[in-house]
Symmetry: C2
Subunit: 80 residues, 2 copies
């Protein structure tokens, strides 16, 4: 059993209105000097395998096929 965390973030240059809204809300709450807020997604996954190399290849395929839109998003895979 291999635990992995996948972090999917928007690529640089892709507009992030949700991040901008959060930035505005933080300013309204009195947090000054906050900038560059970008929101992304995180997936915690358990893969039933003992082969870390195969698990990593599988996780990469999952990102490419389902978890990330690689046109506008980057992904990073961390094995626990």
């Amino acid at each position: 059993m291999i635990k992995a965390r996948i972090v999917v973030t928007l690529k640089n240059g892709v507009l992030d209105p949700q991040g901008k809204a959060i930035e505005g809300a933080l300013g309204t709450l009195g947090f000054d000097g906050v900038s560059g807020v970008r929101q992304g997604k995180v997936f915690d996954v358990q893969v039933d395998s003992a082969d870390r190399t195969k698990a990593e290849a599988d996780l990469k395929a999952m990102c490419e096929k389902l978890l990330a839109n690689t046109v506008i998003e980057n992904y990073a895979i961390e094995l626990a």
Copy 2:
């Protein structure tokens, strides 16, 4: 300028229907042995401050007040 990443995840025991749906979709795509999929959120934030201790306290307050629902979610703050 301090860069930070905040990861917000559902607490254990809180139902995650979105995670379950992703798990089902991965199974349909032929990825066997995937379990325990949980989806969370990630926020990349820049704080305009040189004081890491104050920045960390501010980020904690941001999580408590806006970014996480602490009844059902945990958060983790990583300073870059």
